[in-house]
Amino acid sequence: VSTQSTGPLHGYHTMFAIARSALRAPVRRTFAASASASVHTLPDLPYDYNALEPHISAEIMTLHHKKHHQTYVTGLNAAEEAYVKAPTPKERIALQAAVKFNGGGHINHSLFWKNLAPTGSPETKLSGGEFKEAIEKAFGSVDAFKKELNTKTAAIQGSGWGWLGYNKATKSLEIVTTANQDPLLSHVPIIGIDIWEHAFYLQYKNVKPDYLNAIWNVLNFKEAAARYKEARSSS
């Protein structure tokens, strides 16, 4: 996967580096005189739309993937295309919010689908090993970890994400939250939980705690452990 090292998107290199590893999106080089822009696509869901029932309904999964995530992909492509064409710094700055919002939405949701797994699948079991031990060390117990992640995610006043993140500086697992579609940049994302209302409203309405309890049945701990291992080894 090629990366850009020059041009107006240089400042976003870090964010897109994280994005590229998460997205594995095909990068099409356009041989324009100015910097190239990549064309992002909606990644396939790794399972059927009904695979997370009864915890997350097929209706939610369908809308969430086909409508919401697709909109971020479309929006990101449009924002990036406009950005590379923008002739002045002022015009580029004016487009940054759209790049951040749609880019963040694409990154976050791409990570999200992969840190979920079908109901009852082996990936949803947090088995003993380096990752489980690290959680127990950081939070005291898996239950305490669940409680903290759920409490902090539920406390977000508005739209956003709750994360288990790996802090490379302190080499520790921490719970962090991000607002709106801001990507998680301060930590390596290990588990992300979408707390935008579209992620749960049709099934759980205003009762966020019920959604947050339910999602623990479909978190992909195998993927989380793999992300943790990769984060540790690349420290």
């Binding site: 809308l63 508005g158 709106n180 209302e197 409203y201 205003n206």
Partner: protein, 193 residues
């Protein structure tokens, strides 16, 4: 003093078919009432701010207290910005000021719709009067309220997903189009006196 949930200005099915009874039921009984309950919970600990009006709390508080007070106020203002007899073109003072500020109702409608549809994340789209007596369109994030910036709110549209998801799913632009069928110009004029 306990904070009370102001009554809905109309029956829960009064805005149908534009906004369903189900939406009003959840939006008013769960979300709006939820903010009131939470504020009362916080006030029960008898902090210095307990008993202050919503406007005062909006202007002086932050964090979770601000969120509850502002969201109570915002939702009350939202219900009044809608009416079963609403919709159509504006009349009276607000029509005059809209033409002054935006050129025409159609131009205003386009701008307001764009602001409401394009807002990133949760929040509100507002028509406000600034201190030059001119109308402006502003949008606020989450529980944000333009009183804090010294503006006078005239109308608001809730763009949190809970406001439209039951009836419109992800289609916020369609919800905004529906909002125009309910917009309460009488209420707007009452805010311009």
């Amino acid at each position: 003093m306990t904070y009370e949930l102001p009554p809905l200005p109309y029956a829960k099915n009064a805005l149908a078919p534009h906004l369903s009874e189900e939406t009003l039921n959840f939006h008013y009984e769960k979300h709006h009432r939820g903010y009131v309950n939470k504020l009362n919970q916080l006030a029960a600990e008898k902090p210095a701010w307990a008993g202050k009006s919503y406007e005062e709390l909006i202007k002086t508080e932050s964090g979770v207290v601000f969120n509850q007070a502002a969201q109570i106020w915002n939702h009350t203002f939202y219900w009044k910005s809608l009416s079963p007899n609403g919709g159509g073109a504006p009349t009276g003072k607000v029509a005059e000021l809209i033409n002054e500020a935006f050129g025409s109702f159609d131009a205003f409608k386009e701008k307001f719709s764009a602001a409401a549809s394009g807002h990133f994340g949760s929040g509100w789209a507002w028509l406000v009067r600034d201190d030059n007596n001119k109308l402006q369109i502003v949008s606020t994030h989450d529980a944000g309220n333009p009183i804090k910036d010294g503006h006078i709110p005239v109308l608001t549209c809730d763009v949190w997903e809970h406001a439209y998801y039951i009836d419109f799913r992800n289609d916020r632009p369609k919800y905004i189009a529906t909002w125009w069928n309910l917009v309460n110009w009488e209420f707007a004029n009452s805010n311009l006196k």
